[in-house]
Amino acid sequence: MTVQESCSLIDLKDVWTTYEGASCPVIKGVSFTIKAGEFVVIGGPNGAGKTTLLEAITGLLPLVRGTVTVCGKGVPHEGTTVRCNVGYVIQNFDFHPFTPYTVEEVVRMGRYGRIGWFKRESKEDFEVAQDAMRKLGIEHLKDELIGKLSGGQQQKVLIAHNLAKKPSILLLDEPFSNLDLITRDEVSSLLCQVCDSGVPVLMVSHAFDSLPDRDIRVLVMQGGHMVLDSHSAAGNVADLIRSVPVAG
């Protein structure tokens, strides 16, 4: 095991978090660490707090209690710095057909946080964005308006947007939800490559048939609590999650 693999890139200790205006916490006392190169699937029923967990990691939500450390930075205090280095593919997006942004523009936007204030995009920024589009097979769509694409193509654009960031950690919320079976396999293989390069991948998903054939760490959430933290082969993830008794 290399030094990089042994360091934890995400460290949650007794995390409680809530949405603004909510009366009770959505995440309750969750603790875990994620190391470089881990492929993690977060499962559990609807409303269990899976998406909220990703938002707590990215510092988008305030913490009620506990600590979140990402790449050595405290969240949410250093949330902006953390988000420059963390890819997060959101679940719900809906672009109007005439949203005035091309695919290339959207992918390049992934770099903007890293570039910083008052600076222009460099040649490298353009090249990284092109490379991300190439990896997702959407180069030919670069001049198309994002709203004109299908849901699956838009999903690929958002993944490319986050890959263009060259993230230290990649979080994905239901990344397969809009994709056809072949594209799921392609994206799954790509995520596997990302993971092999040392970048941990955390994915909220219900599409377990598309997981890459490798050792997968499975976290199961229920009612805001982490009820299972285990490892499984890709083919057994669904059974493992089903085996967790549902709390009354």
Partner: protein, 276 residues
């Protein structure tokens, strides 16, 4: 500034004012429409209206009081929505009603106390009544808007595309958002004497709506909207002054006419004929 082109001093001032105001408002209109904050623009234009009325009542310079109340409204919008646990649109509805009530209160009070205040200047504006300093202020804010939009083009592009994704990208959304609100507030207050509190909204939305009919990308909209707005406003000023018509309302109607024509001619409405 343009006396060498337009010898008529009144017409020259009107054209200058309309030109600077329309370009500044048109650039902001692209942001307002793309960020879906049209109701914020609407509320702020009425806040400027109320601020102007309050300023006249208390004997303060109208532009300063209008700017102050517009900026104050921009600053309280976000925190008020959070504290009241209400949807932003509901909060804006309350703020809009409050601002309108304040404006009417001060206007009615001035009329009932016999202070001989003519509310029409506040309601519909009067482009020929501007002082030279006010035209310089409009030119300055227009340049500031262009400069800031250029400086923060990356951040603004990302925020107008998707605010949450911009935040996830590591962009500090809040400062940029409040900077935009501040610019809208100042622009709205400076435009109040030209087009009035009721018509100001036309300048803050319609140019982008027209540009949107023909533009595919936001970059194109940032170029087309000011051109359309400047042409329409300058024509409105020329026709209005030449034929002694109210310039503000006439230009607003012209904007609506251009919008209807743009919608009719828009390539976005056409379905491509394809042979299958």
């Amino acid at each position: 500034m343009l006396e060498f082109l337009i010898p008529n001093n009144v017409l020259c001032h009107a054209v200058e004012a309309m030109f600077f105001a329309s370009i500044g408002c048109a650039i902001l209109s692209v942001l307002i429409t793309q960020m879906n904050i049209a109701s914020i623009g609407f509320t702020m234009s009425h806040a400027a209206f109320a601020g102007g009325a309050a300023g006249v009542f208390f004997g303060l310079p109208m532009m300063i009081s209008a700017t102050a109340l517009s900026v104050l409204t921009a600053l309280v919008m976000g925190p008020l929505s959070y504290r009241t646990r209400m949807h932003t649109d509901t909060t804006l509805g309350v703020l809009f009603g409050t601002m309108m009530a304040l404006a009417i209160f001060f206007i009615a009070l001035m009329q009932s106390t016999g202070r001989g205040f003519d509310a029409s200047a506040l309601l519909y504006g009067n482009v020929v009544s501007l002082y030279r300093e006010e035209i310089y202020a409009l030119a300055l804010i227009m340049l500031v808007i262009i400069l800031l939009i250029t400086l923060f083009s990356k951040e603004i592009t990302a925020i107008t595309f998707h605010r949450k994704m911009a935040e996830i990208s590591g962009i500090r959304v809040q400062p940029v958002y409040y900077l935009l609100l501040l610019l809208i507030a100042i622009m709205v207050a400076l435009c109040l004497p030209i087009v009035g509190g009721l018509l100001l909204y036309v300048w803050l939305v319609t140019p982008a709506a027209i540009a949107y009919q023909f533009c595919a990308t936001i970059r194109q909209m940032f170029i087309a909207a000011p051109i359309v707005a400047a042409c329409t406003s300058v024509i409105g000023a020329f026709v209005g002054i030449t034929y002694s018509l109210p310039v503000g309302p006439l230009t607003a109607v012209l904007f609506s006419g251009v919008f209807v024509s743009a919608v009719a001619l828009s390539p976005k409405r056409r379905v491509k004929n394809q042979t299958y």
